[in-house]
């Protein structure tokens, strides 16, 4: 017997819904409602926020107090609600255009502030409600009604943007990979902090048909070709991977081991170089770059100014620069930062 109690969370009186046959949004709504029901989330402890677009209509079908914001503002609204009402579970149901384009600034900053909200992004790679214009996640080269010869630009890679600053939770799944899809929803709802589920979904009527697909199922098969599942906990997801990338906190940056003082090497113990020998160390053929200065030889291979080039402006590698440095615009401090490797034989 299938458990249909999740229907308590839907306003069935408002059905049939507004979406086209074959659309992926219905699957998103249903599976989110099922996961919420399993967790015991209801109209007394949960609020749903959505933006504008086909996916924005999801909030209106949830049988609880829901907020339908202006275009792109769902995240800000959800964050404010969570701030003043920490007792409420706050879920955002929206789409790629709403979250990635017009709401892009809020996506950056709300994720940075890391409120404890869960975002479900119905990512159908198109502006569906307005008739099939190219969106921020439309793949390059896709023909849409606003990119008749193919989309010119690279899509917005939400996976890359949302996994740069920990803590983060980013999951990518599709409406086709049902078990994976359910697992991602469940885990995202339980994540403490900002969690984002990028659900690759189909828009057969306003995107798929133009691309040559006859049915929604053909689009699902296409998702299966384009993406593959990865197991286990990841730090990042590649652009063609389905899975979960998460990190609790920024890895602690280990303080670099800084020597307390320069190791003193007795002057007499250092190797001596003649000017001829010095010329040999000019950085070519994998040799280090040495320069002479006031009777000592310095290894300046680490200097960014000499990288790949034999000289920086007028200073030649493999040369005694004593005279040149006296007239250079910088002081000799610059030289003293580099290790001494020998003495210059007069």
């Amino acid at each position: 017997m299938i458990d249909r109690s999740y229907k308590e969370l839907l306003k069935l009186g408002r059905f049939p819904h507004t979406w086209c046959p074959g659309c992926g949004i219905g699957a998103v709504l249903k599976n989110v409602a099922m996961a919420m029901k399993e967790l015991g989330w209801n109209n007394q402890n949960t609020s749903v926020v959505s933006g504008i677009g086909c996916s924005g209509r999801m909030a209106g079908y949830m049988n609880l107090d829901a907020v339908h914001t202006p275009h792109g503002r769902a995240l800000t609204a959800a964050e404010a609600i969570k701030t003043v009402r920490p007792d409420l579970n706050v879920v955002v149901l929206s789409g790629d255009g709403d979250l990635g384009a017009i709401g892009g600034n809020h996506l950056l900053h709300t994720s940075r502030r890391n409120p404890n909200i869960t975002v479900f992004c119905n990512d159908n790679e198109i502006y569906g409600l307005t008739g099939g214009q190219a969106g921020p996640t439309t793949p390059k080269g896709t023909k849409t009604i606003t990119s008749p010869s193919g989309e010119h630009y690279q899509p917005l890679r939400l996976n890359r943007i949302l996994t740069t600053q920990a803590p983060y939770f980013y999951a990518r799944t599709t409406v086709y990979h049902l078990n994976h899809f359910k697992a991602c929803i469940q885990e995202a709802l339980l994540w403490k902090g900002f969690s984002f589920v990028d659900i690759i979904s189909d828009c057969i009527e306003l995107n798929g048909r133009r691309l040559g697909f006859k049915t929604a199922h053909q689009m699902f098969k296409w998702f299966d070709e384009r993406f593959h599942m990865v197991e286990g906990v990841r730090d990042h997801l590649k652009d063609d991977e389905l899975g979960i990338a998460k990190r609790e906190a920024e890895a602690e940056v280990k303080a670099e081991e800084v020597p307390m003082g320069k190791v003193e090497v007795k002057h007499e113990d250092l190797k001596t170089f003649t000017r001829e020998e010095l010329k040999h160390f000019d950085g070519t053929e994998g040799r280090p770059i040495y320069i002479g200065y006031k009777g000592e030889v310095y290894d300046i291979s680490a200097s960014p100014l000499f990288q790949g080039e034999k000289r920086m402006r007028c200073h030649m590698a493999g040369k005694d620069l004593t005279k040149e440095l006296d007239v250079a615009p910088h002081g000799e401090d610059l030289i003293f930062k580099f290790p001494v490797v020998g003495r210059l034989k007069e």
């Binding site: 007394q44 107090d65 907020v67 914001t69 609204a77 003043v84 009402r85 007792d87 600034n105 809020h106």
Partner: protein
């Protein structure tokens, strides 16, 4: 006890007295002090929450959302920020969220003169967002009145279930005056809206019926809903017909000024009658009609190119004379010479 306070401080203290529990804002001269005080206050009082948003769009949306979630909320900005907030203002009216927007005006359009006062956002108050809506706006002219009117604005917001606008200007925001705010007794209207997490409501900016069901093809449902909203807003506005009238019997001329301009010309009361609207919008139609009847000349002195003057003309059906104080220039002598000139020319 009397203390030296700025307009911005008085506004913030007024909001706290009114029971505000949430502030979201974005730095902008000349309203930034309100943002700063909110951040400080939130550190000392954890029940007061504060957000420095990424832009004014987010600040305004957060303010309205916090109100829907269940607390009294407010935001503060200036002209260019207020422009960004227009989207949220329209939404706030549609979802019927009580909150307060403070706009400390500076010279526009666009970035304009960030540190110079102006009164040029009146049209923005009325019609900056799409569609029909009926905002309520007040405009004080002293530090003490800033405190009182902030509370009034919160009360009107709760009664009208809408974002109410409190106008100020760069001058008033940074004006320091002695005031005894603790000694002021003010009635505070409690929260009227049921918080989130109670029912099955939908708060949407899409056209909807009284129950919150989306109705995008039903003129009748839309009319019913809009008429309800309009009536509630106008009834609330009627409760606050605030103005100040200083008549001078032997004067044939009425000066109309508000906000900081009314302070600057206050010494002219020895020669002219002065009318100061405090509720800027909806326009005090009835009061203006009654009072202006007794005067041959009406001169509107304001920090913009005749915005309020055009509303007065609309309200009383008569031409008025205009003295626009533009670019932050509010010199009394200049205003006086302009008045003389207008009276001489008779237009």
């Amino acid at each position: 006890m009397k203390k030296l306070l700025s307009g911005n401080e008085a506004i913030f203290k007024g909001a706290i007295r009114a029971g505000a529990r949430y502030f979201a804002g974005y730095p902008i001269t000349p309203s930034s002090e309100i943002l700063q005080q909110a951040s400080l206050y939130s550190e000392e009082n954890p029940e007061f929450r504060f957000l420095q948003a990424e832009d004014e769009i987010a600040a305004a949306i957060a303010t309205i959302s916090a109100s829907l979630a269940g607390v009294k909320s407010f935001t503060a900005t200036s002209g260019p920020g207020f422009t960004l907030m227009q989207e949220a203002l329209g939404w706030g009216h549609a979802v019927e969220a009580p909150c307060v927007f403070i706009n400390s005006m500076r010279v526009g359009p666009s970035t304009g003169m960030p540190t110079q006062p102006a009164q040029s956002d009146l049209f923005q108050v009325k019609g900056g967002s799409a569609g029909d809506y009926y905002p309520i706006a007040f405009y004080p002219n002293s530090v003490e009145e800033s405190f009182r009117l902030t509370i009034t604005a919160f009360n009107a917001a709760e009664e009208s279930l809408s974002p109410v606008i409190l106008l100020a200007d760069a001058f008033l925001s940074h004006l320091n005056e002695m005031a005894d705010l603790d000694g002021i007794e003010a009635e505070v209207v409690p929260r009227t809206k049921e918080p989130l997490g109670k029912g099955h409501r939908l708060f949407t900016g899409t056209a909807h019926d009284r129950m919150g069901n989306v109705k995008t093809n039903d003129p009748e449902a839309y009319r019913d809903w809009l008429n309800d909203l309009k009536e509630r807003h106008l009834t609330t506005a009627d409760k606050y017909p605030l103005y100040e009238y200083i008549p001078r019997k032997d004067s044939e001329t009425l000066l109309i000024a508000f906000g900081i301009t009314s302070r600057i010309i206050s010494s002219l009361k020895e020669r002219f009658s002065i009318f100061r609207p405090i509720r800027i919008y909806p326009v005090l139609e009835r009061e203006l009609k009654e009072i202006t009847e007794h005067y041959r000349h009406i001169i509107v002195i304001e920090g913009n190119d005749g915005q309020y003057a055009s509303w007065v003309e609309w309200a009383i059906g008569r031409k008025v004379m205009r003295v626009p104080c533009l670019g932050g220039g509010f010199k009394l002598q200049w205003i006086q010479s302009q008045i003389e000139e207008r009276l001489k020319e008779g237009k």
